[in-house]
Amino acid sequence: MCADVTVATGGPALAGSSSLKANLRRAEAKKRRTAFMLTLPLLAFITVMFLVPLIGMVWLSVANTAVRDYMPKTVAAMATWNGKELPPEKVYAAVGEDLTVAYKARTFGRIAKRLNQEMPGVMGVINKTSFRSSKVTTPPASWKDELIKIDPKWGQMPIWNLLKRQSSMFTADYYLAAVDMQVSPTGHIERVPSYERIYIKLFIRTAWMSALVTALTLALGYPLAYWISRMPPSRANLMMIAVLLPFWTSLLVRITAWIVLLQSQGVVNSLLVGSGMVSEAARPQLINNALGTVIVMTQVLLPFMVLPLYSVMRSIPDTYMRAAISMGAHPWRAFWRVFAPLTVAGVGAGVLLVFILSIGYYITPELVGGQSGQFISNRIAYNVQQSLNWGLAAALGTILTVVTLILFLLYGMITGKGKVSLA
């Protein structure tokens, strides 16, 4: 009887094993399709609103289209020029003709703007040359003499070297500018004059102020997370709601509240003066400087430190500390040897999270940072909105994005290994 049963069930299953696999594949494929359809709207949204602009930004940071688009004849003519001495007549002629067309098409301004970013003062030369060459009715005997007559700079090497460099499709100029470097008129890479060096300083300031904010949130958040994690669950949940309470208020409102507190006629200063701790004349400057940025950012970012710390600490049972103490360790020693090492994953996650958020911070330094509390993002905004040097803004943004990505990978490694979840 047993044998009959084996044959009856084993036979068909063996014969149909390939179709069984096919069935499984079909079922799995259907599941995958469903999952894909469910995430499709988000995927589309992210692609359009995030990935495309991101790629656009990277493209802007290296793209060099002004000269290629608006001076096509010059680009073609310069291809064979060796760049050692002044270019031959056909290049001069190409420049004259291109600028004539550009003047009529009203595109000469874009050429002038791009060239002027790399060599201040060239804008005038281009504008003047465009206007004057468009007035030349019959092709002159020598475009070379004609252009040098319009502006003697056409008889010198720097402007030609610049045009040659700008005729290539890609440029590293924006990245060089983003690290306070430039290409000299002679074609060498050099540091910009010291009075123009701002970006390295800003990157360093962004990094160390972010590090300071991170250290402060850790110093404030660790004891808080510890305290909450040792509470009975119902009270701990209440406390966590209190920790997350700031998220229910607009960032702008919170920053404004800080301005009210910290300004020189504000609550804190009035208390200090009123209690006689500082004199009326010596009211400390608590806002519109680096100090203000650090104070406000620490408060704003504190929950991002407390959450991963709490999540890790909650999973450490009381008995570890009790066991260590029962074995004779002073509570402090038990804490450092047993509790603290078990929270390393949470500390790593919190530190990286706060640091990543900090280095990209814009609104807080903008509102309370004054001059000394500016971050790199504020400078990016300046280049986008004021100086309209989008290429430089894109290069700065790309550098920031890459740094953040590297940190984020690090974060992923730490949280993946320590199995940290955000509450």
């Binding site: 049972p317 008995t319 570890y320 009790r322 066991a323 260590a324 103490i325 029962s326 074995m327 004779g328 360790a329 002073h330 509570p331 020693r333 038990a334 040897r337 047993v338 090492p341 078990l342």
Partner: protein, 366 residues
């Protein structure tokens, strides 16, 4: 084994504990534990047994009364200076340290030098047959192995007193029974004093020199296992330890040790008077199922007999359990061993059951 409880190693002296200032979790606890004794605190959850253990370890403070260790009061001694070994229910092995580092921890804290540390660790691991595992992480060990390491860690610094808080609660039945013997053997060979907390009465009976049965913040009875099982002082202990048949009745007369009890269905039977004092008092008679006999030829002389109706017969392998209707109660259980030629009772059968009146204990009716 020191049985001289006057010269107590651990002593609770009129200890009280309250958490909220209103109700007492531990009410007037007096307990003396001798050197080298294995004492188990047994009771349902919330009975105060774990609180007592934590007060002894120093993680809870007594609201009132003294706790003395080897003669000196330890109420104000912080837990890390008490020198008491402790084993926790979830083992509490430090997951970021190897087994060896776990065992080394209490020794490092005591500034013991490296070579002595290593020999002590080796000795402790060998003691629990885990000598090969010094370099493993706790997460690489099974529950039973972790339990052994926790035990070794509590013993490695040679404490004279070891507290165990339901240490076997997380193990499966077979492993638990095996570990009970190992802990018992370790206790015997090391001569340490053990205070053991459990809610498992089988565990308590197997391992202990004496058992303190806790309920409602009080010790209900403090006695060696056999006394506790065979001569429970009150109906809580009778019902908490082992299986127990209950017959309700009223005291007719008391004559020294013996009491005449009128059962609720009118029959009068003889029983041992334990904590009944006066005529007319309500009482609960407790009889262990294995002390009840239904074969007349095997009944003890002078047996108290009653009529019974078989309601249910349950085959359990080594024993038979038979549920009877006796004197109005249909929860009366008898147990008989599955020996050669043992008869199996049929439901509906009318039989006569009997027991030695000494085994029927007239207790408080609660």
């Amino acid at each position: 084994m020191a049985k001289d409880h006057n010269d107590a190693f651990v002593e609770f002296d009129r200890v009280q504990k309250t958490y909220d200032g209103e109700s007492l979790v531990v009410k007037d606890l007096n307990l003396k534990i001798g050197q080298g004794e294995f004492l188990t605190m047994l009771g349902p959850s919330g009975s105060g047994k774990t609180t007592c253990l934590m007060m002894l370890a120093g993680f809870e403070t007594a609201t009132q009364g003294d706790i003395r260790l080897d003669g000196r009061p330890i109420n104000s001694v912080p837990p890390h200076k008490r020198g008491i070994g402790m084993v926790f229910q979830n083992y509490a092995l430090f997951p970021h340290m190897t087994v060896g580092e776990n065992l080394s921890f209490p020794l490092e804290v005591r500034s013991i030098d490296k070579s002595e540390r290593e020999s002590k660790i080796k000795r402790a691991l060998d003691m629990v047959q885990m000598g090969e595992f010094a370099n493993r992480r706790p997460s690489q060990l099974s529950g039973g192995q972790q339990q052994r390491i926790a035990l070794a860690r509590a013993l490695v610094f040679d404490p004279e007193l070891v507290l165990m808080d339901e240490p076997l609660g997380a193990l499966d039945k077979q492993l638990r029974e095996h570990m009970q013997f190992e802990i018992k053997h370790l206790h015997d060979s090391l001569g340490i004093t053990v205070v053991y907390v459990t809610h498992d009465q089988g565990e308590a009976l197997t391992m202990s020199d004496r058992i303190a049965v806790f309920n409602d913040g009080r010790i209900q009875q403090l006695a060696p296992p056999a006394t506790l099982y065979e001569s429970p002082d009150n109906s809580f202990v009778a019902q908490f330890i082992g299986e127990n048949n209950k017959l309700l009745g009223t005291v007719e007369a008391i004559d020294g040790e013996t009491a005449l009890i009128r059962l609720d269905n009118g029959e009068v039977i003889r029983a041992t008077a334990v904590n009944v004092t006066s005529k007319g008092q309500k009482t609960l008679i407790s009889i262990r199922p294995e002390r009840v006999e239904y074969r007349e030829e095997l009944m003890p002389p002078g047996a108290q007999t009653l009529d019974a109706e078989v309601l249910e017969f349950i085959y359990m392998g080594d024993i038979f359990r038979t549920r009877l209707k006796v004197a109005g109660s249909d929860e009366f259980i008898i147990k008989s061993r599955n020996t050669q030629g043992q008869t199996r009772l049929e439901p509906g059968q009318m039989i006569k059951i009997g027991w030695d009146p000494k085994d029927a204990r007239a207790l408080d009716a609660q």
